[in-house]
Amino acid sequence: MSIILKKLKSWEGFLVLILICTILVNSFNSEAFLTLNNQINVFELSVEKIIIALFMVFIILNAEIDLSVASMMGLSACALGVLVESGIPMIPALGLCLMIGALGGAFNGFWIAVFKLPSLVVTLAMLIGFRGLARVLVEDRSISVFPSWFEALGQQPFLGPFPLSLIIFLGCTVFVVFVLQYTAFGRYVYVIGNNQKVALYAGINVVRVQMYLFTAIGVISALAGILFAARLGAVRGDMGVSFELDIITIVLLGGISIFGGKGSIYGVILSILIVLYLRNGMSLMNVTGHIQTGVIGALLILSVLIPNLQKMIYDYSRQRRKRL
């Protein structure tokens, strides 16, 4: 019993409580919520965000941030559209898009890891830069020239009732949990986030780890862009604008500290469920998209505010006890 109570007091326990509340409220409000179709729909509609969020965990654990992911999604989707339009077959075009993602990510990583520029500014610059390139590629058109099998992959069930994107998401989840919890690389990420100097003295190649991470998130963003293009069947220059808000909210709500080094991947998986169910619940209650964005913004602030207040109250009471 005491173990359960102790678990409930942690951040993950708090998230479980919120999750149960959300599910209860949602299922009271709408009978459609707990059907398998709706559940798959919930995940399918924002699978791009949650895949990126899983990998964003590594970046934020590393005490860095990547704001350019949504723009990279747009860029890779637009590049795919332009490549296919110019007559290049689908498979090489997909490969080229992933290459663009890797190059973009490595470009970010180069400035952040090698030159030690703040990731906030570098990725903010690339938030504008990648989006600008996407606009240069397609200007103000919308391209929809994809072969039917590609669109079917994005829109129709692939294995049983599950679409391909959902299977990719599940694969990514297993991969991320494995890497973060059971490999040396995962431990390196935590150490670098806790204290970069200590990591350096412990003989960890910080530059290489950071380069890997930023390249990986570039590739994943490009993959998410491709999935997005497949789901919509068309690409435009403003695809995925301001997705970074949802992505960062999911990661921080999951209990990953913005200062790096703290938090677990299980919390993030819980917070993915919470954010998706919240959005779905609001949609089922006919709340407009703008209010949903506002709620996500408030959630982002609260997810850092609550632990901070907790710590302040704790410190205050300890000081008082000391004085007594």
């Binding site: 903010l124 690339m126 301001s242 970074e244 808000l245 913004g297 602030i301």
Partner: protein, 373 residues
């Protein structure tokens, strides 16, 4: 025209160099360039280089575009700099304390819409009341940010990313999908952007530009000569040292956010005066431009160094590029966002690589000289 402008800029640069090294010239003789270089403050050097770059951009575009350099260019660029410039000053204050404000675009949009709606419902409202209302709402929103950053200890990037969405939602809900229309606005507001303070052969020095100049000079003086201004630099350059010297860092950070919000409110008013028709997406994208102006203007993103003049020059540079790229027909106008991103990255990279070396070199020279004495 071209020659006159080039000559004018060269004079400005020479005078700038002279004034910044004048005091030292009196005491130590300037023998050669390297001596002059290490006498110059790195920040001043950075601003002079930026000024030179702006000049080069003007010369470049006047070669590739026909009828580029004329009075209309000055009028157009100066009016749009007035908007982004004031916003950049607010952003500069926040960045100087090692924070960032991404919600300014939403604040501009909200104040522009709110004041516009009040004015179209109540045409008798005096200009002063409208301006005060805009500044007040902006300051209120800024204080919300500032409270969360300074007193709840949440990183500024998280707070302002959240409030960017929150304020925009507030605007969408408040507007109820209506648009502020130019026809409903009072006459004085529509004439405001066209009022000239001085005009000479088609060169118009607009009132809004004069307002920007006043704000620039005011904040430059505050940052240079008041203890509050010096404290902003102190908090930004070394928070621990500032706290140990007994500065109330939280209060200072809070006030910079309030000021940033107030300036964003003023920008919102000018945005309303300039564009008239305000929709719910008004001002989106301005937050990135203001950060760009600040970073290009040489304000260190780690806080503690840079000047208001630099931020203003950064705003001029960005607006000049944007206004020129639209008119350059060989290149798609869609390039301008990509260019803006590269510009930010280049200026941060030069700051951290080249300027750091220059600072070290200068420090070495100065200590050598002192040892000799």
């Amino acid at each position: 025209m071209l020659n006159a402008m080039v000559a004018l800029s060269i004079i400005v640069i020479v005078v700038g160099v002279y004034f910044s090294v004048r005091k030292k010239i009196n005491s130590v003789k300037v023998n050669n360039i390297s001596n002059l270089l290490h006498r110059l403050r790195p920040e001043t050097l950075r601003e002079l280089i930026l000024l030179l770059l702006i000049l080069l951009v003007v010369i470049f575009f006047s070669i590739v575009i026909d009828h580029y350099l004329n009075a209309r260019l000055f009028n157009r660029v100066s009016t749009s700099v007035a908007i982004i410039g004031i916003l950049a000053i607010g952003q500069a204050l926040v960045v100087l304390t090692r924070n960032i404000d991404l919600s300014v675009g939403a604040v501009v949009g909200f104040t522009a819409y709110f004041v516009g709606q009040q004015l179209s419902q109540n045409n008798e409202m005096t200009p002063l009341v409208a301006i005060c209302m805009a500044i007040g709402i902006g300051a209120l929103m800024g204080s919300f940010n500032g409270f969360l950053v300074a007193f709840c200890r949440i990183p500024a990037i998280i707070v302002t990313l959240g409030t960017m969405a929150l304020f925009r939602t507030l605007l969408v809900e408040y507007s109820d999908a209506q648009t502020v229309l130019t026809v409903n606005l009072p006459q004085w507001l529509l004439e405001l952007p066209r009022i000239n303070v001085v005009s000479y052969e088609g060169l118009h020095f607009r009132l809004v530009v004069a307002v920007m100049c006043v704000v620039v000079i005011l904040f430059h003086l505050i940052l240079r000569y008041t203890s509050f201004g010096r404290k902003i630099y102190a908090v930004g350059s070394n928070p621990e040292a500032a706290a140990n010297s007994g500065f109330q860092s939280r209060k200072i950070i809070f006030i910079t956010f309030v000021m940033c919000g107030a300036l964003a409110g003023l920008t919102g008013f000018m945005y309303l005066a300039r564009f008239g028709n305000i929709t719910v997406v008004a001002g989106s994208g301005l937050e990135l431009k203001s950060v760009a102006a600040v970073v290009v203007g040489g304000i260190n993103i780690f806080g503690g160094s840079g000047s208001i003049f630099g931020a203003t020059l950064g705003a001029v540079m960005i607006d000049l590029l944007e206004n020129s790229l639209i008119r350059w027909l060989q290149i798609s106008e869609f390039w301008r966002d990509a260019m803006l991103g590269m510009l930010i990255l280049c200026s941060v990279a030069t700051d951290s690589v080249v300027m750091k070396r220059f600072r070290k070199y200068r420090l070495k020279k100065i200590t050598q000289k002192e040892e000799k004495l």
